[in-house]
Amino acid sequence: MVLLPTWMILAIPLLSFIINGLFVRRFSGHLAAKIGTIAIGFNFLFSLALAYYFFQSGELSTLEWHTEWLRFQSNLIIHIGVMIDPLSAMMLVVVNTISFFVHIYSLGYMHDDEGVGRFFSYLSLFTFSMLGLVVAPNLFQMYVFWELVGVSSFLLIGFYYTKPSAVSAAKKAFIVTRFADLGFLIGILLLGYLGLSVNQGQISSVYSPLDFLFLNNPDVGLQLASSGLLTTGLLLIFIGAAGKSALFPLHIWLPDAMEGPTPVSALIHAATMVVAGVYLVARLFPLFNLAPVALEVVSWVGLFTSLFAAVIACTQDDIKRVLAFSTLSQIGYMIFALGVASDLYPLGYTASLFHLFTHAFFKALLFLGAGSIIHAVHTNDVWQMGGLKKYMPITHITFLVAVLSISGIFPFSGFFSKDEILTAALESGHMTHYLVGLFVALLTSFYMGRIYFLTFWGQSRSHENASHHPHESTWVMTLPLVLLAILALSSGWLPFANYLWFAHKHDHHSLNMTVAFSGTLAAIIGLSSAWFLYSKNNFSKVQKIQTGMGQAYQIIKAKFYFDELYLFVTHKIVFNKIAGPIAWFDKKVVDGGVDLTGEMSQTFGQKLTLIQTGQVQNYIIWFIVGFITVLTLYYNTVL
């Protein structure tokens, strides 16, 4: 239908990775950068055209192309393929746009970095694996690209490999996501097994048991649900999703992932990779729908994460850490929106994906804006900025647009998507979710207002000498900011509901007035309190609040000591208490056992030599004694 075969969308980033990675990078980093950007640019246009044609054609889902990759059994064959359906089309657009803007932005940001070639080849690798994940027709291929996304995020976080903190952050990210992928893999095995036992049923063997079209097929779902293992399978898979989207227990790696260059944080840790978990749950939503227990877990984990992250975000000093926690909180929003959705109230499904769509734009904008600030001021610490309004007008305005959008002020996209989530929670009767959601909205606008006022308003608190004023970034960096700001503005008005829906299409697109009003009110309260506390330069009032909260403030600031807890568990428990003893046990006991047999034979030999005294008579005695015993034995037996 589109002029080019759809697998091109995968092939181009892969090609650019191979070309850049193996050849171009050695000669000139900048050439590699240009090749990467052009490739992704083409991909961006291609995905727009793809989405446009797909939504025109009105088909439900088209399996564009697939080839056999790995054959487990005759009835369990894994295909690599490209499947376009509303969900993956939307994701294609999101991933490609953000990736394209980040590529343009990085042309400026990474310009004087000596590893620029390496950076752009990793970016193409990441985009390739993310697209592979998005268009995967079956769960196994999604797992394959899931891991590849994990590796590319590992490489990108650890880009400044000479910095030990970046290296350990990359290692931490990979290990935590790898731990979650363990759950994902076991979930796949379980679903594969269940699928096999169902496959013998009436569904023809067109699909292999792990294909989404097979799994999401209603009557297959019913058979799976009847088997009783479905909830455990889905929960295992949700663990995988929680790992990648940094939900509550597995969130520790995201704040540290900020060690990577800012464009990386913008692309991976704001817009694309972290929403892979949301995408997975959305992709398997028909199955999740049949397992209400699993959905409950999903909603509660999402809710708690959003609250937990929003609270921590208010206390952080590093601008990128604040944005990381805000991402956490927004993803919590999307997850609990999916959690509250069901075939009775399908609004949650659309709301969550709509929020994913809009969040990608304004969060990427926030990160890129923060990047250009850091680029100008050379520090992440919010307390050393201030008064940048005068020096960086474009960044200031675009940042302001993003802050208003994320807090959910009317004309901006955040308002519509967050609004829909809250209405979905309200309509489906999840009152606690609605109230906590509102409170989180307030917190969101508060901490966003806080960093906005701290960085742009008041006097400049940077330690550098006053003469060197921070200057606005070059056009290459500000152009994506402006484009993203426009998108942040316009994406709210997109009639999302009639493209992406579950169970039945909404006929009307009405705003639930109570939710709209309460949401905006929460946003205004948050922003004004932030303005009240942080806009002037005297922070006496802030000090008062901090001392007022006393110890609680420190705990929150230290992210509830989860990092230390994980470090304790891994280092103390696993390394010293389990791996250490095993290594010792292996060395001493098992190895010792073998050496022991060696020593035993040696000492036994030693003892024998004592008999050779050298005295002739002893030998005679031994001879005769031997003679006698032999004779007696012989005669005893014979007679």
């Binding site: 050779q612 005294t613 050298g614 005295q615 002739v616 008579q617 005679i620 005695i621 005769i624």
Partner: protein, 103 residues
């Protein structure tokens, strides 16, 4: 009244055991040889007595004993030659000291 083969065999066995006793107690090399002679003699006696009681007509036993005597002679000769060597080195012919093989 005539003697029985058993007495003869026991007699030679007795001499043989006395020889063993001598072998184990003697310290000097020559003492060893003496008890050794006894044991060889006991063997020869045993041989002849069995021959005489069981196969009086054959001659083999006597041939054997002659050979035994010859070998005993050879053996003593060699032993004494070795003892001469020891004497030359002014070492006592005391077998308890002769344990160089052990080291």
């Amino acid at each position: 009244m005539n003697s029985h083969l058993l007495e003869w065999l026991i007699m030679s066995l007795f001499i043989f055991c006395v020889g063993i006793y001598g072998l184990l107690t003697r310290k000097s090399g020559v003492g060893l040889l003496i008890s050794l002679e006894l044991m060889i003699n006991a063997g020869a006696l045993n041989f002849i007595s069995i021959h005489r009681f069981l196969y009086p007509a054959q001659v083999d036993a006597q041939v054997f004993v002659l050979f035994v005597i010859a070998i005993a002679a050879a053996e003593v000769l060699l032993a004494l030659a070795l003892f001469m060597l020891l004497i030359k080195k002014q070492q006592p012919v005391d077998i308890t000291q002769l344990n160089h093989l052990k080291h």
